[in-house]
């Protein structure tokens, strides 16, 4: 990568890159295939959280017992990616580095403040999720760097979560989607709400205003609706043939209500059990 810089492109699972090559939309001179590189495919629980190798297949993460136990929202989000065959090839790192704004994984990483372990010329550096995604299909990775690992935090056993999205067809990229995680304190008040949206901006986005409006509050329909209504001033989504800007904006608010409602319900259920 150091030698070829921007002329080179990393091939991970190939689920986005290969179609782009096929359409002649991207014409890299060099392809660097990571599929034969060892040490990039693992899921480990550490004190820092779940460390997942960038080349771990999405279906592997989806089905991992440890992910389902410690960070179930990640498995839930992956379920929405494409179809099973795509998830068998597609890697977690490939999706994050491709940084499609309509993809689920960047939104999960953003919602959970995941850390990105970036490998460069003999060096490693850590990047926070909110500094990793820069713009449409653009990350802060430098041309001579690759993504090594992603560290997802372990959720509380009582945390509630939900992933809601609307796609034109089953398995399509979402026209709008939301990842929500909440927890409740001893008095049943909301703590640590996390809301990230995808498909509605050039990158996945955290809805911090919505989170702020919910902290320390008793959850209820009205609270959630009012919090989600704050998105109206926050979003200016792109429009295209799949959905207009106005549609995405409206859908994002509706899905946020649904996701938060579900997450709170799940929280109640998990606290009881």
């Amino acid at each position: 990568m150091r030698r070829h810089g921007l002329d080179a492109k990393i091939l991970a699972g190939g689920q986005s890159l290969v179609p782009l090559l096929n359409l002649r939309l991207t014409k890299p001179k060099i392809l660097v295939d990571l599929n034969g590189v060892s040490g990039l495919d693992h899921i480990r629980e550490t004190s820092a959280g779940l460390r997942i190798g960038a080349m771990t297949r999405q279906s592997g993460v989806e089905r991992s017992a440890i992910v389902r136990e410690k960070c179930p929202v990640l498995a839930e989000a992956i379920r929405h990616i494409g179809h099973l065959a795509i998830r068998h090839r597609g890697t977690i790192g490939g999706s994050l580095v491709h940084a499609d704004p309509a993809a689920e994984l960047p939104a999960v990483a953003l919602a959970l403040d995941a850390k990105f372990e970036v490998l460069g010329d003999g060096m490693a550096r850590a990047v926070c999720a909110d500094e990793f995604f820069i713009d449409y299909l653009t990350t802060s990775l430098r041309p001579d760097e690759i993504l090594g690992e992603i560290i997802f935090p372990v959720l509380q056993p009582s945390s509630g979560y939900a992933v809601e999205e609307v796609a034109r067809r089953h398995g399509d990229f979402a026209v709008a989607g939301v990842v929500a995680v909440v927890d409740l304190d001893g008095e049943g008040k909301i703590i640590g709400p996390r809301v990230a949206l995808f498909g509605v901006a050039p990158t996945a986005v955290r809805a911090r205003a919505v989170e702020q409006a919910m902290i320390g509050q008793q959850p209820g329909n009205e609270l959630i609706r009012d919090a989600a209504a704050l998105l109206r001033d926050m979003l200016d989504p792109p429009g295209d043939i799949r959905a207009s800007s106005a549609y995405r904006k409206r859908a994002a608010a509706v899905l946020t209500v649904r996701a938060l409602t579900k997450a709170v319900q799940l929280c109640h259920t998990r606290r009881l059990s």
Binding site: L23, R169, D172, D240, V254, L255
Partner: protein
């Protein structure tokens, strides 16, 4: 001789020889690989409308492996233009309808200017496709962009940009038909619908795109062309005509074809260019369309805009219907008035409409040419009529099923003269069918009564469930002819050869079932040969729900002739009277004396010229007969579709809960294959109703030119389809069959749109256009909010 017994006709036999399709072992055009073969790629216009300036091919020619580049100027002297349309116009139709036909003639490569994004401008031949595409990218071309016309209504405005040089306006084909007195009937009625309906542009998207391989035998100069076409004989005629060759020196083969659905019914530039290049270069040349090319060069379909007025009485009976519609041709319309006239001929559907006036106008725009796609004008007609029926029901607070019942043609009125001409020039005459019963079956299958009873309660709990009905009739088995050659070979097998050309229908099985019953054989003892111009002199091809009707009848006709001869030979050999003979198990025997028999194999070896001949005096050698079936007119199939949907009114998504089809295509040869046809058609119709759209921006750029944005329904979008078959035999052919290839695709847009209007009836939405996207659903709901706000003020 004995009457035909139905041992195999009507049985759900699994398709023969179809394992190759499942295992990927079929032989498609792309699988034809010849020694020394070259590969072609096309430069296609990126402009919707522009004058072509200088073309610089130096850099392209310098690429290693590139053999040559040809432009419009290089071929103009050597390839004559295409006809203005491939439609054949029967005289009675021309005289009865007096259509205006003034289409432009496309050239194989654009000359002077380009008329749409995707029009072929130059063709490159290279050692492989990769280098051919690199060379296409290296061609330098100067365009002088011209104003673009995208909207068909704007195209009709005075002073509109003219798509074709030398024309006075953008109208290409037009016609009008009338029965009764529509002016008077509309004038007399206060209750009226005035609506505008749009049936948008989408495409067939067959799994296999187009593709051509051409090879010239160096010593004889015999040209063989493999093409992914529905019409091998037409392709041969056109190659011979446009390249000035003798037809006998051109052979066209349609090998396994991965779907056609209409867009492969005429001849494309590449089908002339690739043979031309093979002749020029003396080497085989291959071109396989990729999906990006497909979206901008293979014909699109539908794209009609209807303005209707419909008068009805207080009982919901339709008194008069006027429909003026536009069909957006794109830059060319290779099938002329086929779609537009089909729309007019099918508009009345299964209903009695005393006064009718339809005018259709095909206009040019700077878009991909428009041509028939499964249903070919019928889904548009059905969308208009079936929405009208539901709107009448809403106005009169009647059940939409009841309004249909009140307008249906009754079974005792068959055959029913519909009062207009079909495009074969014959009066439209529904030959058989029971329309009320077909609807009853569909409604029962969907549990209609129970659904209606549950609807109020569901709505109270916030669930918007809707039921939509759509009925249609379809003229099938259209002429002008199809032939079958029936032959018995020395091994005693029956071989059927026909000019039809299967592209997934299961002809091998269906024709074998028909022949097996006619000959007292099993279907395994019958071979079916098609898709090869060398095997039969004349052929139309496979399209328009016609092959079972026309080829089946031709097999019947040829078999009768051949049986007659076979029995004469057998009678001679067995020293019996032909009337005393019977056929069974590949043998001819004397009735009541099964041991006095001669096998088909022995008969074939006896019916030869020369010393081995055992023919009676005066009988010509060979066990072979050819029959061309020329139907006087079409036979009318009918069906009723019922869609049950649920709408999420917050995000505008539609979920199909149930889909029911009651279908009458006359006598069924193979119910399993019939189900398959209906399934496939319904899936495509669901795509049309909810997902697929070829949208253009104001510059004439296609916005959905790949499967990323052109949304085909997948297995998750298509529900389990319940099918009920009725069988009203057609009196118009010896087998009693009707066509069913297109039917499935005709009704879903109407049924699903009706279901949406029903689901959202508390909001009184105007569902007048498809596709029913979540965006559109929210818009329909917002209109209601605006309306109720306005009425509150």
């Amino acid at each position: 001789m004995a009457e035909t017994s139905s041992r195999f006709i009507g049985r759900s036999i699994k398709p023969y020889k179809s394992k190759r399709f499942v295992t990927g072992d079929g032989t498609y055009v792309s699988d034809v690989c010849l020694p020394n073969m070259l590969h072609a790629a096309l430069l296609r216009s990126m402009h919707a409308h522009a004058r072509i300036g200088a073309i610089d091919v130096k850099e392209a020619l310098a690429i290693d492996g590139v053999v040559g580049v040809w432009t419009g100027r290089d071929i103009e002297e050597r390839i004559s233009p295409f006809p203005e349309s491939f439609e054949i116009h029967p005289l009675p139709w021309l005289e009865g309808v007096k259509p205006v036909l003034q289409g432009p003639r496309p050239t194989a490569l654009a000359k002077g200017k380009v008329h749409y994004v995707g029009e072929a401008v130059a063709i490159v031949v290279a050692a492989d496709r990769h280098r051919a595409e690199d060379a296409v990218d290296a061609i330098g071309i100067e365009y002088e962009p011209l104003p673009v016309v995208v909207d068909p209504e704007e195209s009709l405005q005075p002073g509109a940009t003219l798509v074709h040089d030398g024309s006075n306006n953008n109208v290409v084909f037009s016609f009008s038909i009338e029965k009764g007195n529509v002016n008077r009937a509309l004038g007399a009625q206060p209750t009226m619908l005035r609506e505008r309906f749009r049936h948008h542009r989408y495409c067939a998207a067959p799994l296999e795109g187009r593709g051509v391989v051409a090879w010239v035998e160096p010593k004889t100069h015999m040209l063989t062309v493999w093409s992914s076409t529905q019409m091998p004989h037409l392709v041969r005629r056109q190659i011979a005509a446009q390249l000035d060759l003798a037809e006998e020196n051109v052979r066209v083969i349609a090998p396994d074809i991965g779907g056609g659905f209409g867009p492969k019914v005429f001849v494309y530039p590449e089908e002339i260019l690739i043979p031309f290049l093979a002749l020029q270069l003396g080497r085989p040349v291959k071109w396989i369309e990729d999906r990006s090319e497909h979206f901008i060069s293979t014909a699109h379909g539908r794209d009609q805009l209807h303005d209707i007025e419909c008068a009805f009485d207080q009982e919901g009976r339709i008194l008069a219907l006027r429909d003026r519609f536009l069909l957006d041709n794109g830059a060319y319309n290779p099938m002329g008035l086929t779609d537009a006239y089909n729309t007019a001929a099918h508009l009345q559907g299964p209903y009695k409409i005393p006064n009718l006036s339809v005018s259709g106008t095909c206009v040019s725009t700077n878009k991909v040419p428009n041509a028939p796609y499964r249903g070919a004008g019928r889904p548009e007609a059905v969308f208009v009529m079936e929405r009208c029926i539901d709107m009448i029901a809403t106005r009169l607070h009647l059940d939409p099923a009841e309004v249909r019942r009140r307008n249906f043609i009754q079974p005792q009125e068959m055959p029913y003269q519909a009062g207009i001409l079909y495009r074969d020039g014959q009066p439209v005459c529904y030959d058989s069918g029971d329309y009320p019963e077909t609807m009853n079956r569909a409604l029962q299958g969907a549990g209609y009564t129970e659904l209606r009873a549950r609807q109020p309660e569901l709505r109270r709990s916030g669930r918007y469930v809707g039921v939509g009905i759509a009925c249609y009739v379809e003229g099938t088995g259209v002429g002008s002819f199809e032939g079958a050659k029936v032959r018995i070979d020395a091994s005693g097998r029956v071989i059927i050869t026909t000019g039809a050309s299967s592209h997934g229908q299961g002809h091998e099985t269906v024709f074998a079932q028909i022949a097996a019953d006619l000959w007292g054989l099993t279907p395994e003892q019958v071979s079916v040969v098609e898709g090869d111009t060398a095997s039969i002199p004349f052929g139309c091809g496979t399209f328009a729900s016609r092959s079972t009707v026309t080829v089946g009848s031709a097999i019947h006709g040829a078999s009768a002739q051949l049986k007659d001869k076979l029995l004469q030979v057998a009678a001679h050999m067995l020293e019996a009277n032909p009337d005393d003979l019977e056929l069974a198990g590949g043998r001819v025997s004397v009735r009541g004396l099964p041991q006095r028999a001669v096998s088909f194999s022995e008969l074939a070896r006896a019916a030869v010229p020369g010393w081995a001949s055992k023919l009676p005096a005066g009988l010509a050698p060979g066990l072979e007969a050819t029959f061309y079936f020329e139907p006087r007119t079409v036979t009318w199939a009918n069906a009723v579709h019922v869609a049950v949907i649920e709408v999420d009114i917050e995000i505008g998504t539609i979920k199909l809960l149930d889909y029911v089809v009651a279908h009458d295509a006359g006598k069924l040869i193979n119910p399993l294959l019939a189900d398959g046809q209906v399934h496939g058609g319904v899936a495509q119709g669901i795509g049309a109703a909810l997902y697929e759209e070829l949208a253009y921006d104001e510059n004439g750029q296609l916005l959905s030119g790949s499967f990323v944005n052109y949304l085909l329904p997948g297995s998750m979008e298509v529900p389990k389809i319940k099918i009920f078959h009725l069988e009203s035999p057609s009196p118009l052919n010896p087998l009693g069959v009707k066509g069913l290839g297109e039917g499935g695709a005709i009704a879903p847009p109407a049924a699903i749109a009706n279901a949406l209007a029903d689901a959202l009836s508390p909001f009184a939405p105007r569902v007048n256009a498809i596709p029913l996207t979540p965006d559109l659903v929210l818009e329909l709901l917002a209109q209601k909010e605006v309306r109720s706000e306005a009425s509150a003020v």
